[in-house]
């Protein structure tokens, strides 16, 4: 706990120093980065220690504000979510040191201040055990990331994103206030330790409010609208942190609050699972239809949050069914996927950032062939792509294995949850293939083939700090993939703090063999690939492979423009899912006999935003517009309101 307090202090100090040094960007950057790195090291040490020793420590200081107390609790659940925070903010800071170098120097102070504040507030969110403290940290998190989203506030998209983000964040925070109020209606400080499940409809209301509030941060469909706008708008290391870690705070909060609401009715789990499945499928379909790299990654975050929620939902269903083994499996699948997602999504956003910094664009249709100019970045990005598609031997597979195993177990003979199990495994399979298609498209159009425009001409490999930063999540991906059994103990500890100490044993009973085998399979796969590669090398020994143009079925001079583009790649799938993905195509109209230039492009419409939010906003604005007559400026009417209200009150109340 002391180490964590130290890292909190370091982050806050770094933030303050960076803001104070806003006239000297280099000093601000040094302060911000150094604080973040040091804090990461301290924090990681502390949380790993807690996680592996299964410890529990708390701290409670009085805070002279109504309902508040400065209560911190470090239990395994908190420690588990601290790991991605510290991993990614540390790596992000290192990356940002290279990424922010050179552009927008006058904003460096503010940017680093906000970045360190974001790290500190996320740490505090996870640690706090009092509603007022939690909300303070929560809103500081929203505020600091809002400022970072508006880093490039001269761009209208950034302002739109910032607006959407701020408003959805505020709505979510208000819902959380309601949830906390329902959990602790009686007077006194709102410490988590004093929370109790309210009776009757209030429990359901608290659950729905928490789902809404945390869901708006976690960004599952249909509460995700801010996500694909805000993540691309922020600088890439911030996108990595936001997408990789910050949205996980929604999952953390949901888990924390669900802990107060036990026992859970079955429909809660069903609802969460349904939201999860919709988010997973919808998210990946929308991702597939995007052709801006960071937007694609943002939608893919929606998909992964969906997978996590599916695990949570199945686990909750299992708990209300009394099947703790199944619950342990699905919860740990969800938890591990949360960690995994922060690793590979962090890596992918950093990779995307390197591409954007080096070429100035993230448009897939303008890129291509970058693996020759940026080989290391390309390898990292490919690694991330494989991991996010859930492919062995990487970490994504491990968590999807746990989820799939849970789904299959739910299908077992005691099959009250069988339909849900079927939903889980079908969604997993569909999402897995769609994600693979999506990331093949992304990495293929950015790094493979030939450049599609001149934007890539000046591309250079990312700088040292950026590459070093990318190595951190990359190492995590490989480690979790190769040694999944190591996750068993921490996950058991976390399960213990959610479901009670009994649940921990179930996990090792059911998951230790599969995890060990998955690790063995991963190692075996690695060895097999090495063997095959060696065999290939041996076969080719002494022979000099020929070189030539790509065989294009007899066409002698293929040009880069003839390549399959990102839109063409995904078109068959997007066409099939037309009702969900509204792709608007702009087709050229060819009229002359010798048409000169023509281009064709497609754009995916944000379905939920267009069909849910825009009409609702329009309806409310229309209402406001209609009622604006009330303030029409005539004194007579104003006095009449008073008279009418008075007479109405007299008639009604006397």
């Amino acid at each position: 706990m002391l180490l964590l307090l130290l890292s909190l202090g370091l982050l806050l100090a770094g933030s303050a120093l960076a803001v104070l040094f806003f006239r000297r960007p280099a000093a601000a950057r040094a302060a911000g980065v150094a604080a973040a790195l040091l804090a990461s090291v301290c924090g990681l040490a502390a949380s790993l220690q807690t996680l592996f020793s299964g410890g529990f420590s708390s701290l409670s200081l009085p805070w002279p504000v109504p309902m508040a107390s400065f209560s911190l609790v470090l239990d395994p659940l908190a420690a588990f979510f601290l790991i991605p925070i510290f991993l990614l903010t540390g790596a992000g800071a290192l990356y940002g040191a290279g990424y922010l170098d050179g552009n927008a120097r006058e904003r460096a102070g503010l940017a680093w201040g906000a970045f360190d504040l974001l790290s500190a507030s996320m740490t505090l969110v996870v640690l706090s055990a009092n509603a007022v403290l939690f909300m303070t940290a929560w809103e500081l998190m929203a505020l600091s990331s809002f400022l970072l989203v508006l880093f490039d506030h001269e761009r209208p998209q950034a302002r739109k994103a910032g607006y959407l983000y701020l408003v959805t964040g505020a709505a979510g925070a208000l819902a959380l206030l309601l949830a906390f109020s329902l959990l602790s209606p009686s007077g006194g400080p709102m410490d988590f330790a004093r929370f109790a499940r309210p009776g009757g409809a209030a429990a359901a209301a608290a659950f729905l409010a928490a789902l809404c509030g945390f869901g708006l941060k976690a960004g599952f469909i249909p509460l995700h609208v801010w996500l694909p706008e805000a993540h691309p708008a922020a600088p890439s290391h911030v996108s990595a942190v936001m997408s990789g870690v910050m949205i996980k705070m929604g999952i953390y909060g949901l888990l924390r609050v669900l802990g107060f609401l036990l026992p859970w009715p079955a429909w809660w789990g069903g609802l969460i699972l349904a939201f999860g499945a919709v988010s997973a499928l919808g998210g990946v379909l929308f991702a597939l239809a995007q052709h801006e790299l960071k937007r694609l990654l943002a939608y893919s975050s929606v998909e992964n949050m969906g997978l996590i929620l599916m695990g949570l939902g199945l686990g909750m269903l299992a708990v209300s069914d009394g099947d703790y083994a199944l619950a342990a499996l699905s919860f740990s699948g969800a938890l591990l996927h949360a960690l995994n997602h922060s690793l590979f999504k962090g890596l992918l956003f950093m990779g995307a950032g390197s591409v954007i910094k080096s070429t100035g664009t993230g448009e897939l249709e303008a890129l291509g062939g970058l693996s020759k100019k940026m080989p290391v970045t390309a390898s990292y990005f490919l690694l991330g792509s494989a991991a996010i598609s859930g492919l062995p031997p990487f970490n994504g597979f491990v968590s999807e294995l746990l989820l799939g195993l849970a789904g299959l177990l739910a299908l077992g003979p005691r099959s009250r949850l069988a339909p849900w199990g079927a939903v889980v495994i079908v969604s997993l399979a569909a999402v897995g293939t769609l994600a693979a298609a999506c990331f093949v498209k992304a990495s293929g159009s950015v790094f493979l083939g030939l450049p599609r425009s001149r934007r890539t001409d000046g591309a250079r490999e990312a700088g040292r700090p950026m590459l070093a930063a990318m190595a951190v999540p990359a190492a995590g991906i490989a480690l979790v993939g190769l040694f999944p059994s190591a996750a068993l103990r921490p996950l058991s500890a976390v399960l213990g703090s959610i479901l009670g100490p009994g649940a921990a044993g179930f996990l090792s009973a059911y998951a230790s063999v599969p995890l060990a085998c998955a690790g063995a399979a991963a190692a075996g796969l690695a060895a097999l690939l090495l063997a095959l590669w060696t065999a290939r090398a041996l076969l080719l020994r002494g022979r000099k492979p020929g070189a030539g143009p790509t065989w294009d079925c007899g066409y002698a001079e293929p040009t880069p423009r003839m390549q399959y583009g990102a839109s063409s790649f995904s078109q068959p799938l997007t066409d099939l899912f037309q009702p969900v993905i509204r792709v608007i195509g702009r087709y050229p109209r060819i009229q002359e006999y010798f048409p000169s230039g023509a281009s064709f492009s497609t754009e995916a419409q944000p379905l939920v935003y267009n069909t849910l939010y825009t009409p609702a906003a329009r309806r409310i604005r229309g209402l406001a517009y209609r009622f604006s007559w009330l303030q029409q400026g005539r004194l007579q009417f104003y006095i009449m309101y008073i008279a009418a209200a008075l007479i109405g009150l007299l008639l009604w109340k006397l």
Partner: protein, 305 residues
């Protein structure tokens, strides 16, 4: 011999897999009234390709070269988890079917990336189609396996097919038939056979799998061809496991019967290819959705029991 027995299934797969395309082709030739190529043609091809010097496009990078090796490696590992003749596979654990499905995914991922690395319009087209069909094939396959898990109460491939007995067939014949049909359709699509794809077509615009590997040559192409035959073996073995629920316990009898069944599946593929025309590309997803519907129906029937 005793040490070999547990591995016999794996060995048989490695050695006999290239036979299956030959069998299918021979059956096709029979129906067409032709003599056809030799059954061992793929062995000859592989031997020749391994000796050839490859040619690489200047556009491509290491990803292009790694693709075939990764694809082959993934399939090799998948086969270690495939049960054989009523016996457990060398690699069997709860949830191993997830591993197998995701390994197939890895192979696809590598192949598709390698195709995109060439920067060729045709290969990109094939890659796109491959990715598209997988989206439908894989859920159908997973759901089918899930239905089997529901029937047998086991969640590993070896466990499922170990628990599949005559009694199971007697109790749930319609369900199992539906699942067999679903697996067969998935097999046709995953292995680029008619009616999803035509391995013998010569029109690049209509190809799927073949067009993706246009640029590969030499040992790389050998890896790909061998990997494709392993994939066919994998599905054929699963279907054989489905339709052969009875095991005598004698190793030789079981193995012989099982091999016959696998070859029978290959022959059935050939028969289907002779009897049907290739579907239009747009209709292929409908075929796979039908397979998905079969799997779903099987599960529903089982749950409603």
């Amino acid at each position: 011999m005793e040490t070999l027995r547990p591995l016999s299934g794996l060995l048989a797969a490695l050695l006999l897999a290239p036979l299956l395309p030959g069998v299918a082709n021979k059956v096709k030739a029979f129906f067409g009234g032709r003599k056809g190529q030799p059954v061992l043609q793929l062995y000859y091809d592989l031997a020749k390709l391994l000796r050839k010097t490859p040619v690489y496009s200047v556009t491509s990078t290491w990803i292009f070269k790694a693709g075939p090796a990764v694809g082959l490696g993934a399939l090799l590992l998948a086969l270690t988890a495939t049960p054989f003749a009523g016996r457990s596979a060398p690699l069997a654990f709860d949830g191993d079917l997830m591993l197998v499905v995701y390994l197939l995914g890895l192979a696809r991922f590598a192949t598709v990336l390698a195709a995109l690395d060439t920067g060729s319009a045709f290969e990109g087209m094939g890659a796109s189609r491959e990715a598209q069909f997988a989206v439908f094939a894989e859920p159908a396959f997973m759901l089918g396996l899930g239905a089997l898990a529901c029937i047998t109460g086991s969640v590993s491939l070896s466990g499922i097919f170990g628990a599949l007995t005559v009694a199971t067939w007697a109790a749930a014949a319609p369900v199992l038939l539906l699942l067999t049909a679903a697996f067969f359709v998935v097999m046709l699509a995953e292995n680029s056979r008619v009616p999803a794809d035509d391995p013998n077509t010569h029109l690049e615009l209509t190809m799927i799998h073949e067009v993706m590997v246009l640029d590969h040559s030499g040992p790389d192409l050998a890896f790909i061809l061998y990997g494709a035959s392993l994939k066919l073996w994998f599905f054929a073995a699963l279907i054989a496991c489905m339709v052969l629920p009875r095991h005598s316990g004698a190793w030789a009898t079981d193995t012989g019967l099982f091999l016959l069944a696998v070859i029978g599946v290959a022959a059935a593929v050939g028969a289907v290819e002779s009897a049907m025309a290739r579907l239009r590309l747009l209709k292929v997803p409908y075929l796979l959705i039908t397979a998905f519907a079969f799997s779903a129906l099987a599960l529903i029937l089982q749950l409603a029991r």
